[in-house]
Amino acid sequence: MLDHQLAWYVAGPVLGLCVVVCRALFNGRLGVTGGYSEVVAQLVRGSVRFDWRGWFLIGIVVGGMLFAVLGGGAGVGGYGWLTGTFHGVLGQVVIAAVLLVAGVLIGFGAKTAGGCTSGNGLTGTSMLSPASLVATATFFGAAIIVSFVIEAVI
């Protein structure tokens, strides 16, 4: 069952309900980048007393683990266009470097914009926040353009 992609009309509403439940239970603004931010900020202080956002991030990791254990697949193996393009030991070094740099762009960019796909894309958009609507249109546009550029080059 888990090896079949969940229907979009089930997956979407479940993610939307997560946003609503966060708000209903403790007036929380669901956002994964907030979780990373909390974890980094606490670790820098030498503390592991994370607030709910840090625990939300940990919950996602646990969710991924449960999914793999329950038969959804570990998801190991190739990694999209990167492992399809770069081969050998040198290729692996290139992939690692590309993912590291992409990660920095993701973390720094999402913090600058006040949220990522979840914080701005789901939660902010659902709050009808003009800033989040602009952010969402921008990151979708940028990601689409980058994907087409990569497609043209490789």
Partner: protein, 160 residues
């Protein structure tokens, strides 16, 4: 304490759903961004629709948070330059790695070795941001110096 437990459980549901919907699979993300499959956009739209209806309902009922008793208040930001520049950088990284922060965490749980590099980058990027802008604390999108906060009015407000 109860908020932390609830946050963890919501995270577990969120993480399983991200994996089950294929969002932790970079090939699925890439197909979506190249407009080869509509799945991601349909899922995203239905998620936003459900959340809009849910949040509006909470608002209209003037509900209080079930665990903390806090009044359910939130503000909306006006777009600023940082929303465009930050999201452009974020989108660039997303389109290259074909994973955003949630799915990256889910990949770690699933045991995707490559995700170790992506998550290391994300943590470094967040650290760089926090270091340069210590004044700008969380929640960034809820209250910022340059953001003009506007009062939230429900779209579906009952007529007085």
């Amino acid at each position: 304490m109860r908020s932390r437990l609830a946050g963890t459980l919501i995270g577990v549901v969120f993480g399983i759903t991200l994996c089950w919907s294929g969002m932790s699979n970079p090939t699925v993300i890439r197909e979506a961004l190249l407009f080869e499959r509509a799945y991601l956009f349909l899922m995203f739209a239905s998620a936003v629709l459900v959340a809009v209806i849910g949040l509006q309902t909470l608002r209209r009922r003037r509900a209080r948070a079930l665990l903390t008793g806090a009044p359910l208040t939130w503000t909306r930001d006006q777009p600023g330059r940082r929303h465009v520049t930050g999201s452009a950088l974020f989108g660039l990284g997303w389109g290259i790695a074909d994973a955003c922060p949630g799915p990256i965490a889910a990949q770690i749980g699933q045991g995707v070795p490559w995700a170790l590099f992506t998550i290391a980058g994300v943590l470094a990027g967040v650290y760089l941001f926090l270091r340069q802008g210590a004044a700008e604390s969380e929640p960034a999108a809820d209250a910022t110096p340059e953001a003009m906060t506007v009062a939230y009015r429900p779209l579906l407000a009952p007529r007085a």
